[in-house]
């Protein structure tokens, strides 16, 4: 039992952090309809700024209490990420759809390059020995709070404005909504929440690397949002869960399947030389993972959230 707990702790933390990130992107992507392909950048900036604060500044000004330190780290990480978000948003939000995606694509690389060239935070080797703050349970609770916050957000005037802007900018304007301001606010909230996830990442793993800002992580986030269903916050949590859990499950698949393969080759259905090939395909987690994502998208383009909707509908018609 202890073994399982130890083994599952890291995936659990990664799930909670990824869920916070995915939800923060859901606000921008599903909520506001802005395709940002550089979302991992804000998360990295959040991690780095809070780490710089706890490593270099906190000892100088004499903050030793861990709770206070964590609160300060969160605030500073979120501010740093939001500030970066603002720098990106002001020029980019004037662009439309595809162009916004192109512009944000560069942001991740810029952030990665900047941190790679800052030697006092470890340069290309990454920022090491960040003090440990927060617990898995705390991160999980923060995730729930963020989820609740976003659900409530959609019910406020800004939430309605954001969704109206996503669905039809011209209509939204004619109803009195300032769409530029609306997009800006959504981008700011989204990037600061991503920064929050970054703070917890840096302070639980006690390490953050500039490569975190790269394209791959941003795409994983988009996937998490899309798998779960663009328009649902809960869906993003589910998407994050899938993304963390599937590679963990896939780890065991070659072991499970191998005996059958050997059995089949003994019966002569399978060339023995194919076994290593199949083995290596099955243990290539990224490959299997990508195929699974494609299958999910083909079966259900609206994401998992639409399944819940369908079930709800079925229940209603049954009543």
């Amino acid at each position: 039992m202890m073994d399982f707990l130890n083994y599952s702790q890291l995936p659990f933390i990664m799930f909670s952090i990824l869920a916070i990130q995915a939800m923060s992107l859901q606000l921008i992507l599903g909520g506001t309809g802005l395709l940002s392909l550089g979302h991992a950048a804000f998360y990295t900036v959040g991690g780095y700024t809070s780490a710089m604060f706890t490593v270099f500044i906190a000892p100088l000004i004499g903050i030793h209490d861990t709770t206070l330190l964590l609160i300060c780290a969160c605030l500073i990480g979120m501010t740093g990420a939001a500030f970066t978000g603002l720098l990106v948003a002001i020029p980019c939000l004037k662009l439309r759809g595809d162009y916004l995606a192109m512009a944000t694509l560069g942001v991740g690389e810029i952030v990665a390059t900047v941190f790679k060239n800052l030697d006092f935070v470890g340069g290309t080797r990454g920022f090491k020995d960040i003090p440990k703050l927060g617990s898995p349970l705390l991160i999980f609770s923060i995730m729930l709070v963020v989820c609740f916050f976003i659900i409530r957000f959609y019910k406020t005037n800004l939430g309605y404005a954001v969704r109206a802007t996503r669905d039809d900018e011209i209509s939204a304007r004619s109803l009195g909504i300032n769409i530029y301001k609306t997009k800006l606010i959504s981008f700011l909230i989204g990037s600061s929440l991503a920064g929050l996830a970054g703070v917890f990442y840096a302070h639980t793993l006690q390490f953050i690397s500039p490569d975190e800002a790269g394209f791959y992580n941003s795409v994983v986030l988009v996937l998490a949002v899309v798998i779960g269903g663009m328009y649902s916050v809960m869906g993003s949590i589910f998407g994050a869960f899938i993304i963390v859990i599937i590679p963990e499950i896939l780890r065991f698949i070659p072991q499970l399947i191998n005996p059958y393969l050997i059995f089949m080759s003994e019966k002569g259905f399978l060339l023995p030389s194919l076994i290593p090939v199949i083995d290596s395909i099955l243990s290539n987690r990224t490959l299997i993972f990508s195929v699974l994502v494609v299958i999910i998208m083909l079966l259900n383009p609206k994401g998992v959230a639409s399944l819940f909707e369908r079930i709800n509908k079925m229940r209603k018609t049954n009543e």
């Binding site: 005037n157 309605y160 969704r163 109803l175 300032n178």
Partner: protein, 269 residues
């Protein structure tokens, strides 16, 4: 001080070499229903677009309640109590019918973000009032049945009504309807006619664009006829119906509505 809610004068709009509106003018009386008619491409929608600030005219003036609107951005014009619908329906496709209507209340809820985020009593009360109003509008426009369905799942005629309900949610004093009866069958058109009448009874002035002559003649107290961006006739329905230029403008085009005007003319003889 006059009692016109909308007065447009000397407005010219050019798109490159094309003159979409040429020295256009119109006055809409407070509480009245006026209409703009004309063949396709005459510049009717452009009139709405300059009132709502989508395009900026090359010259002229647009006054709502004696306040000059030219140069003011679209979202601010909504604060001057001007609301509109669109010729090609523009609903919020991923929202339910209710949510579409509530989106119209964004200006009413401005500045309540934090208090409504934390469900503080004052904004809770306000939201409740707005929901009550939204429900009233649902009923008013005959949409109760569709309350929670996605907006785009509605039949065409209902989508047009939903757009009207959404724009009424902003509490306008001037409502602009761009071809509200387009694509409706005769029964739906009659129901819509009643709806527009009831809207106008609530002290909301209406300016509408419509091809269906019977619809326009029944509702409007004043009609402006556009052809190639110029006003070729204006006045009460009786005068418009017998105007030669108007008949020619319509006979010159080959839209189905030609039949409508002939019918109306025959009926009036």
């Amino acid at each position: 001080m006059n009692n016109n809610i909308l007065s447009i004068s000397n407005v010219t709009v050019k798109f490159g070499g094309l003159v979409a509106l040429n020295n256009f003018h119109i006055n809409v009386r407070q509480g009245g229903i006026s209409g703009v008619i004309g063949p396709n491409g005459a510049g009717k929608t452009t009139v709405f677009n300059i009132i709502t600030g989508v395009y900026r005219p090359n010259s002229g003036s647009v006054k709502v309640n004696d306040k000059e609107l030219i140069g003011i951005p679209t979202h601010v014009i909504a604060h001057h109590k001007v609301a509109r619908t669109f010729q090609n329906i523009r609903l919020f496709a991923n929202m339910s019918v209710c949510e579409n209507i509530m989106s119209g209340a964004c200006i009413k809820r401005e500045g309540t973000f934090l208090s409504s985020l934390f469900m503080l009593p004052n904004s809770y009360k306000k939201e409740k009032e707005l929901w009550k109003k939204a429900n009233k509008l649902l009923e008013f426009c005959g949409l109760e049945k569709y309350k929670d369905s996605p907006a785009i799942s509605l039949p065409y005629g209902m989508q047009r009504k939903l757009e009207i309900a959404r724009s009424l949610m902003t509490d306008p004093s001037l409502l602009l309807l761009d071809e509200p009866a387009a694509g409706m069958n005769p029964t739906e058109k009659l129901a819509l006619q009643e709806l527009v009448k009831r809207i106008s009874e609530q002290k909301i002035s209406v300016l509408l664009i419509e091809h269906d002559m019977r619809f326009v003649m029944n509702l409007c107290e004043n009609i402006t006829v556009l052809n190639y961006g110029s006003v070729i006739a204006e006045g009460p329905p009786e005068i418009i119906q017998t105007n030669h230029e108007v008949i020619e403008a319509y006979l010159g085009s080959d839209i189905e509505d030609d039949f409508n005007i002939k019918e109306t003319l025959n009926a009036s003889r």
